[in-house]
Amino acid sequence: MIRTLTIEDAALRRGGRLLFEGVSLTLQAGQACALTGPNGSGKTSLLRAVAGLVRLEGGAIGFGDVDPHDARGGGLHFVTHADGLKPARTAAEELAFWSRWCGGSEATAQAAAEALELVPLLRLEVRRLSAGQRRRLTMARLLAAPRGLWLLDEPLSPLDARWRETFGSLMRRHLAEGGLILAAVHDPLPIPTLSLELPA
């Protein structure tokens, strides 16, 4: 389980443009960090770099004593608006597949569906879900397969006030269990966080 995330002097270039450089962060078990910055400042790219999906131009990312390969192969969750849900499949099929893919079981998927009040929606095709319902279906992965580090890209944006609060308490519980959260946000998260601002 990931207990530490360190970003040292990270620099990232996308499409020939230097997005940021000299970005550093240390996150310990139980800590969350809000990643802020204007549109196009590289928040999503930094999350993708932590997930190992894009390579840094300079600097390093470490996961404490966990090997980066293991950390990225099953040690972290990455939740974005690009949720990988197929419109023609039912919510139940997608939930069952993604929780199994992330290493959860049928029981944990069921528990996640109950916690996120997805049960009445499970028979619907994904195309019939609203943006907020889709996001809840995506977040069910976080609960169905516990992983140390959550990388969240605008986690609250499609959620209404009540679900923002509920998700806040889920994040608090994750932190209390020794988890870590790095979230790209525009609005502040409903939990105490460190903050890292990327320059324009």
């Binding site: 993708r48 997930a51 190992g52 999906l53 894009v54 390579r55 293991d70 990225r72 192969g73 099953g74 972290l76 969750h77 990455f78 974005t80 608006h81 690009a82 949720d83 990988g84 849900l85 197929k86 023609a88 499949r89 099929e93 069952a96 597949f97 993604w98 199994r100 893919w101 992330c102 290493g103």
Partner: protein, 221 residues
């Protein structure tokens, strides 16, 4: 292992629906096979001579139809990110995806192949060999197509690019399979061509996923 079984089930189901699914591919196949007597003339002797080869070429073309979206949709909707962030090696994931494509598209096309060949006038005795060649050839087509689909990720009109990339790679299975079918029709030993087709198909299964995984990683970064 559990997760790979789940992935195979999902990929097969998705491939069944992708680009109209196997029924569209089979209909396209039937259409191309019907064109031949219209273009070449309906004399049975002339048609029978080219029937096995013609059915074989039409099969290769029909198997191209649904390849375009094999990786494209997962790439666009973020599923590929999630598939990468897993303890399962990406190579194995790509192998499963192509296997799903083969089960949902290659296998129905293979079942249609003997029907098309006999419809064009091939000897009914060649049906089992036609089916076996189509199954093995379809495996090679699915894995070669996967390489093309992964390489053309992010390109505009990726489907066309996929076809251009993979057509040259389709040459060996076309030659081996067509050779085996021709030899069988002529009463000559056909096992050589068939064995080479099998070897080529297995080689694509072994090597293809490595190329696909590299192409996917490159497209994501």
């Amino acid at each position: 292992m559990n997760r790979l079984v789940a992935l195979l089930a999902r990929e097969t189901a998705l491939a069944w629906g992708r680009g109209g699914g196997p029924m569209v591919a089979v209909a396209f196949y039937a259409g191309v096979a019907t064109f031949l007597p219209l273009a070449i003339g309906p004399e049975p002797t002339r048609l029978a001579a080219i029937a096995p080869g013609a059915a074989w070429v039409a099969l290769a073309l029909a198997s191209l139809l649904s390849l375009e979206r094999l990786f494209e949709r997962d790439y666009e909707d973020g599923a590929l990110d999630q598939l990468v962030l897993s303890p399962a090696p990406l190579e194995l994931t790509c192998l499963i995806k192509c296997l799903g494509q083969w089960m949902a598209n290659g296998a129905p096309l293979a079942l249609a192949a003997p029907v098309a060949a006999i419809g064009l006038g091939a000897d009914p005795a060649s049906a089992p060999l036609t089916l076996a060649c189509a199954l093995l050839g379809g495996l090679a087509f699915a894995f070669l197509g996967g390489i093309g689909a992964a390489l053309s990720l992010g390109a505009r009109r990726g489907g066309l690019l996929t076809a251009v990339i993979v057509l040259p790679l389709f040459v060996p299975p076309i030659i081996f399979g067509g050779g085996a079918l021709d030899a069988f029709a002529a009463g000559l030993p056909w096992t050589g061509g068939f064995a080479l087709l099998g070897a080529y198909a297995l080689a694509t299964v072994a090597v293809g996923p490595i190329a696909m995984a590299a192409a996917c990683r490159n497209a994501l970064s």
